[in-house]
Subunit: 197 residues, 2 copies
């Protein structure tokens, strides 16, 4: 790093903390900042501080919000709760304009290998929401991987006895893809979970 002068080395180091950013990319970003006008660089830095300062987690669902309760929880009917791993999953689902219910962000999934147990994610909060009544269905929309499946099963076992319908997003061959290129696990899943027409 001693080929860089201190302010550049320091900035490259900061950019390297972003996910997937190596030294070369961080250097490109740093040079871009240095090439900006003073105002542009100030706006960049201000956006970082502003986001960190203003973004909070919704008291009810755990999604990002600027307020105590997010817009989705404030405005929508809470009969159907869609459970997701992270706030970015809410964004992905909201882009569909399909689901009109509310969310519950777990902020992680059960992962014993990394020491994440059921008490480390927001399962307790989900059960409390259901306990308040009025919930008819819980859609488990964790990722279709080992941890996502395990987490969904764990939650299902706790929620079903409360008399709430529990569903899971369907797995199978992605729409528009070709069977030839589907991976083995996905393809055998599609067979096992085949549906009558």
């Amino acid at each position: 790093m001693d080929v860089y002068i201190e302010p550049i080395g320091r900035l490259i180091n900061e950019f390297s903390k972003l996910p997937g950013v190596g030294k070369k990319t961080a250097q490109r970003y740093a040079y871009k900042i240095i090439g900006m006008t003073d105002t542009e660089a100030q706006e960049f830095a201000a956006a970082v501080l502003n986001a960190k300062k203003k973004v909070r987690y919704c008291r009810i669902c755990g999604n990002f919000t600027e307020n105590d309760v997010c817009d989705i929880c404030a405005r929508r009917d809470g009969k159907v709760i869609c459970v997701v791993k992270e706030p970015k999953d809410v964004i992905a689902l909201e882009k569909l304009h399909e689901f009109k219910g509310v969310y519950h962000v777990l902020h992680g999934v059960i992962n014993p290998m990394e020491g994440v147990g059921p008490n480390d994610i927001r399962i307790r909060e989900l059960l409390a929401r259901i306990g308040e009544g009025g919930v008819e269905e819980v859609i488990l929309a964790t990722n279709p991987d080992v941890e996502g499946d395990a987490t969904a099963l764990y939650i299902a076992k706790l929620v079903k006895p409360l008399g709430v319908q529990v569903t899971r997003l369907s797995r199978g061959i992605p729409v528009g893809s070709e069977i030839e290129y589907a991976d083995d696990v996905t393809l055998s899943r599609a067979f096992i979970e085949r549906k009558p027409l």
Copy 2:
């Protein structure tokens, strides 16, 4: 963008200004910032402002510096000047620990298609340095592309009459690569510029 709350949308927008960063990547970066501690986010923003504030251009060579004159110009013998397009080229060459002379950063190359003429890059400053005397060689290390070659030729024509040796970095097949995979232009260059053993 209305799926994002304002502070997140604003931060994603700022990250999207970095080279090669699309919306998805910008979103990942924004979430990383939001997941940071307050101190971490403050350090990130401070590094941006600090770099923008402290990084200047060396009065002599045009490279990045925190001072009036960069460390390389201040400490090294000025008999050999290596001419490059951008500050990042200085970094690339310094990493070799090979060249012990000084640099001259053009901050661009002649590119009529984009309206960049000889007066838009630091050629005048190079001639002034040579005019002060003591320069024995000018190494033209602009990129081996159309604009880099044109710029090197242009500078060579101006510098040679001043009695200074002018050289250009050699072109050819990259070391460790295979002839089979070399592109046509590089391969024919390697033929034309072949050397006696």
